[in-house]
Point group: D2
Chain length 343, copies 4
């Protein structure tokens, strides 16, 4: 049983903890945080299903006042695990790394940290083998994770040598007040970092792209224009077949009622998924169109939860639980119920 800890119980940390909890070959030793945030209060109201440890600087009296039990210090947690999933606020992960190194514990950092924090920039499908046995991995960000799923899916089957992407980005998470955008679309300098990151993970693909922030809270939409390897045409039918066979891609239709990003969230809520989360990216069948040698399509990225499966893959790679991407992703998918909905 691989022992796992989670540092930072925020939007991502909560979901990482839940994800590990579902992996039957892993044990969630505990989570660590700094203050009795709403997320910690909710954990308390649920009856403390996960053990809580306090990071340095935490004021234990505040937890005591609320009757929230703590199991020890951050060092205590690190001392009990094989690997830490670090979803601390940006920059804190780099500091935490010193503690991990001292304790001889592996770690996986989330997208907010600089690439230099890790030995390998990681994606469960596109470069699993590079992460085998490595001490420090950094996961691709939510957009990049989902984007690569779809590009890798086509590339693996047919070959892709170039993509141009347009990211229609949600600007804040549900419940955020500290950031937002009101009646504005905001452009970022091109090329977007997601295109650059894709090239780091898939160096044989040329990528560029433009990112526009939009005032919504759930689900990025990305359009992808992909050029088949050596100009070999990928038809609509070929693309659709590949996408339908991927266990982390949910192919949907506008006419079934999946009219936009909010439909996935509503559907996941109706499914009874915890937090209304969905691990799969969505891919609209009615968005796939051909243009010359190119194939174009649109995907939906559930930003809060999309990186969870690939992080589970990362644990498998770092701890050499499975030797290759196919067997590792299959284990992760089994425990998260991915692909099950296809029957």
């Amino acid at each position: 049983m691989v022992k796992v800890g989670v540092a930072g119980y925020g939007v991502i940390g909560q979901r990482l903890a839940d994800g590990v909890f579902l992996q039957k070959d892993m044990e969630l030793v505990g989570i660590a945080d700094l203050a009795p945030t709403l997320s910690i209060r909710a954990l308390k109201e649920k009856g403390m299903p996960y053990n809580l440890y306090l990071v340095d600087g935490a004021d234990k009296s505040k937890f005591d006042a609320l009757g929230i039990p703590c199991q020890g210090s951050f060092a205590d947690l690190i001392g009990k695990v094989d690997i830490m999933l670090d979803s601390s606020p940006g920059g804190v992960g780099a500091k935490n790394k010193e503690l991990y190194e001292k304790a001889g514990v592996k770690a996986i950092f989330q997208g907010g940290e600089k690439n230099s924090v890790a030995d390998v920039f990681f994606h469960g499908y596109a470069n699993y083998e590079k992460g085998l046995g490595v001490n420090y991995l950094k996961l691709t960000s939510c957009n990049t994770t989902g984007l690569i799923r779809s590009v890798d899916c086509l590339d693996r089957k047919y070959g892709v040598d170039r993509v141009a992407i347009t990211i229609i980005r949600r600007v804040a998470d549900p419940g955020d007040y500290h950031r937002g955008l009101t009646n504005a679309l905001q452009l970022e300098k091109a090329p977007s970092h997601q295109a650059l990151d894709l090239m780091t993970i898939m160096p044989h693909v040329e990528a560029t792209g433009i990112l526009v922030h939009t005032p919504v809270t759930h689900g990025h939409i990305i359009t992808v224009v992909a050029h088949g390897k050596g100009g070999k045409k990928i038809t609509r039918e070929m693309a659709l077949e590949a996408f339908k066979n991927h266990n982390r891609i949910r192919v949907v239709c506008l006419e079934d009622g999946f009219l936009g990003n909010a439909s996935f969230f509503r559907y996941a809520r109706d499914l009874g998924n915890p937090r209304g989360d969905m691990y799969e990216i969505g891919l609209w069948e009615d968005s796939i169109v051909e243009s010359g040698d190119d194939i174009m399509y649109a995907i939906n990225i559930p930003q809060e939860s999309v990186t969870i499966p690939e992080t589970m893959d990362g644990i498998r790679a770092a701890l050499k639980m499975q030797a290759d991407s196919a067997s590792a992703t299959a284990e992760t998918n089994k425990y998260l119920g991915l692909g099950k909905w296809k029957k």
Copy 2:
């Protein structure tokens, strides 16, 4: 065991079904709908925990094509129940009523129907006794339901003779595309129907109010200016004490992180509540202020789920399961876990 059916498996119908399912003294016989909507598809993907019946006009072949099993017709469902919860689209409930009357089955209609569809316009706390044994009840709308909870709470304890309300209304539900508002606040003709409805349920209170639609999807906020009976002052402390003792009111603070309507939704998601729903209204301790004889405060109304408890109360009244509001609401609260969070 009281047998219950639900007509219309949309935003409200799904939650009514879930609510009935949790009442240990009720049996959910089944739900009825017209088309394989996303909500029905989600039910299928979950493994059909509820039996499905088809209303007249439904095309069974569409359900068959998707492998969605149906247990019979709408008449079949009506024939098996003691009471129907009708959450059909506005206007359809009035037509369904003819079927209910023919079958000698009671029914509770939701806010979208005209008041004339029912014998009694109902609220579980404010006029439970009027619903005892009645055949056709109509529930107050989401805003009115939550508003009355708070006004009845003060009135019951201290007496209230006048309220002036400002409703800051969410304009659409999460996942809606057919209605919305973009960068605009839209006023409705005053007085708002919620103020008029409150006077129907609580005829000893004079009420008026203004409603403004805002471009958000979860949680109305209402400010209430209440005047104590005969000018008797209700202080901040008195109000707070009453609110804290109510099992369907969740008193929160800005400084704990409940910064607005989105916080309740995020908190309920983190609690693991199905669909991220919350049955309680929120009430901000830091919003309560005095002004002369008046007391002013702000509440949050989770529009998708707030009417579920009062509808369960309605079943109890119509079928005389409990003789008074106190015992009926206590049963409902027990099964829905309301008030439990206070320990």
Copy 3:
């Protein structure tokens, strides 16, 4: 002096009237509408700078009650003009056409009408010559008009044989309450009509695209992936040079403060432009990137006003005021002050 009338004094009609008013070689005979809308009331408050005629079905007593003077019937207006600009609600233009035909008057229809209403689907730069002397023109829609400006600009100079576009569409105009979108991105079935329309106007270009509605009110953003003719590469520098020389394209930079669509609106307000309108499309210098043989860039489309210049061009074509696109657009630009800002 060419005599012009405007039917429908709404969002577009008001701006068409203003545009004609500025053309020194045209006379705005009057405008026609059905009811004393806010736009008509504003015209009254401004002192009736334009003559008002009433379309069939209008209730003159309502205008009288407000002291709004009317100069006659729709037929009276049609009888005094050489050409009508029809910006009536969708579908009404087709009916009005019968009146225009009977009176032997030419007309230009806006994007809301079906293509079949007109003899030629028109764009001032891309197919001016096809409109010469033609009786009935239909203007491209706002997105298509702006998109074609940019594609034609590259095509004219370097040749373009293929484009793949992503339209990030504003869902409503400022002041709209009857349509809107709240916290959702909504996809349309691909390929978008704008891509198809582009191919009608520029038949030598292959085009496809995906459209996503977003909850904002001013300014569509379109990303374009363009493939040089025969694979001949258009570099970033080549594209920039062409764009900078176009009088209806305003090249801007993020670092100057043009951070998104709302910046154009604010800038136009600060310029003192009537209604805060801008006739130019915006093009971000920092968005232009190369990808293999392709060039990618982002433009901003001010949806309320972008079609005005091309409609002025249409009058020039239909009435053969100028023989070719270059001289016609130069006249229009001169009167609208387009390109002046470059000094």
Copy 4:
């Protein structure tokens, strides 16, 4: 001719400059700013109708590079004026005050500064006389300015001794990207500062209130519950008559098309008002309702421009141009065209 300068040419500063420019008994000597912002670039593109001075720390070479002429330093501007209107970013005004004091120049600060920066907290109608001859005034904020207009209007005619307000606040200005709110309503700790500020200006009125931020960019809406002096009832008709006679209040109806805050902005654009601005607050006739002794109504506050008239009044007070509120506001109104629309 009173000589006026403006420090800070942002959202408010631009409008202050325009306002002074329209006062025939004042001269706008110039404006001062730090960097070639979009607003300064727009001034340049308009042909520099106002003289520009550079505040300390400005990099003149950046202005030179853009061909933007500067007339001198901030000290030069201060040396030429009788009074400065300071609309610098919050906190800067307090520093600038030292320069004003040294130069013996009066100043009016905007809402962003602390009250302590000024000798008198000022409103043109409610306490004009307190500002007579005073060196340093601070204007009420946009919400407070508009709110007081309406409360003073009733108080002056009928007497008011108590108000409870709900502020439905726009969270950002058009063109803002650095602040915003997405799909959330955010509450502030009660009582709101606007209620407290009202009591400072109108000490005989007891006021409290709750403020909720909403994701829109133009126009706050405030509901007011007002209690007549000594319980003397103000009827709907009495209130309406008073409001209709006020030259800075525009009484409108829902049925005329003023459906919400966005209608005022659209109407002002259609009027041809520069920037689509409106100096008047809006007041919905259909929002006025009675509740016991109380009168309730809703107003619209155009946040960008509403303080301009009262700032002009402030100049008149500080420099003793008129001896009382009635004559001062009449002069301001005449030059700004306020009340003209009533004929």
